[in-house]
Amino acid sequence: MGTSVFYFVATLSVFFALMVVFAKNPIHSVLYLILTFFTFTVHYILLNAQFLAVVNFIVYMGAIMVLFLFVLMLLNLNKQNEPNKSTLLRVIGVIAGGCLAVTLIGSLKSVAIADPLVLKNPSLGLVENLGKELFGPFMLPFELSSLLLLSAMVGAVLLTKKEEKTNG
């Protein structure tokens, strides 16, 4: 039961992810990306990580993708003002993508599949256990990453602020 559901959802994930790349219209791409994230949410639920599933749902589907859609709608991209991509760029893109794919496959092959972390502690993804892990052994990295996000936020606000006076 669980395995067949996994394969079904995984197929959907891959299909929607491919559609993100192949869709001609950027808005359609974003919509497919939303569906891809939705399938990720299902994956998290299948792994018994309810908290991660809901957070993925809120943050990626509910917030970040809305912003993506917002920006694309604001730009209103269409066929006419799409820049012409030269053949050289395409070749370079294919080579770069191929290199990434080879690296990923290589690293995945070396990972031992016989050591699934989830099965050792199946209730790790529930909010209580996750919180205890994050604020216990992983306190420092957690706080550091929040500092990183904060500094990125301050930087973004600073960049968008217009310089009011430039008299030196």
Binding site: Q50, V54, I58, G62, A63, V66, F70, L74
Partner: protein, 345 residues
């Protein structure tokens, strides 16, 4: 997974779905009556006694109207838009605990569809998803007004979601749980969360007004500037779905506010009533009280709509980012300090 379990849940889901639809239907009627009352008019009074059949007449009218899909619209997305709005509005009620456990015969029935341990976050996620209906429909209409309205809806939703999330964090510090069932059960009798979190409640309520696109924050459908915004190209029942989804959203947010801050099915003297009415009827009485609270909130939504004029867009953004978010953060800090002091002594 016994069959009677499935039947029980099926009945519950159907009942909740029907109740939300009926309440949303009669909210349209109530809104006109409230508006009429506030403006010293009579309101709808032709269809049936006191115009009580007006929502049915409106529904039939919506179904009978000609269906128009603009030639340059994106056909599929144009159709998905209203459906998505309706879907997101309807699935929010799944985690609401409608009452205490009820005895039917010798069977204990939970008046809640599902109790997931992140129920509060689930509702938050569904609310944040609601904007896609507006955005997709508005963009697919291929109309400048619709597009502007979509963009407005997106930025408004994102901005007020932050304030809402922050006000929920302060609430979580008090309740120590993400499960709606536990949050409501904790507010037994008079211990409603609004007494501990008054500031958080105000922030949450203002954000709920903005998230449901209700006046004074109904900028995406502002008639004066955008001719109705994202609904401009819609006709027939698709338009009906958008308008209807707004009322369901209003019902859902009223439910959430009543459950989170005003005790849900709890009321003073409930222990006495429990002994008086027995384990079958006392929970139902609690549910009735819950619905009275919800109706009070729905009335409040309407009262505000016909009292306060619409905000300007910059005012909306200033209120969200410079008013509510700092207020909510201050609320979190103060709540945290108070809880730390209380736990110490």
């Amino acid at each position: 997974m016994e069959i009677d379990f499935v039947i029980e849940k099926f009945i519950l889901v159907t009942a909740i779905f029907a109740i939300s639809l009926v309440i949303a239907m009669y909210s349209t009627y109530a809104e006109r009556k409230v508006a009429a009352f506030l403006q010293d008019r009579l309101g709808p009074d032709r269809a049936g006694p006191f115009g009580i059949l007006q929502p049915l007449a409106d529904g039939v009218k919506m179904f009978m109207k000609e269906e128009i899909i603009p030639a340059n619209a994106n056909k599929w997305l144009f159709m998905i838009g209203p459906g998505l709005a309706m879907l997101c509005a309807c699935i929010g009620t799944a985690v609401i605990p409608w009452g205490q456990d009820m005895m039917v015969g010798d069977r204990l029935v939970k008046l809640q569809v599902t109790d997931i341990n992140v129920g509060l976050l689930y509702i938050f996620g569904v609310i944040s998803l609601g904007v896609y209906g507006v955005m997709i429909g508005g963009w697919a209409s291929n109309n400048k007004y619709s597009l502007l309205s979509s963009i407005r809806a997106a930025s408004q939703n994102i901005s007020y979601e932050i304030g809402m999330g922050l006000s929920i964090i302060a609430l979580l510090l008090v309740t120590n749980s993400l499960s709606l069932r536990e949050i409501v059960a904790q507010q037994h009798g008079w211990q409603w969360n609004v007494l501990y979190q008054p500031v958080g409640f105000i922030v949450f309520m203002v954000c709920a007004f903005a998230e449901t696109n209700r006046a004074p924050f109904d900028l995406p459908e502002c008639e004066a500037e955008l001719n109705g915004g994202y609904t401009i190209e819609y006709s027939s029942m698709k338009l009906g779905f958008y308008l209807f989804a707004e009322y369901i959203n209003m019902f859902v947010s009223s439910t959430i506010m009543a459950a989170l801050y005003f005790g849900g099915y709890n009321y003073p003297g409930m222990d006495y009533m429990a002994t008086l009415l027995g384990p079958t009827w006392a929970p139902l009485f609690g549910t009735l009280i819950f619905f009275l609270k919800i109706f009070a909130f729905i009335f409040f939504f309407m009262w505000v709509r016909w009292t306060i004029p619409r905000f300007r867009y910059d005012q909306l953004m200033n209120l969200g980012w410079k008013g509510l978010i700092p207020l909510a953060i201050a609320n979190i800090i103060i709540t945290g300090i108070v809880i730390a002091i209380v736990n110490k002594f």
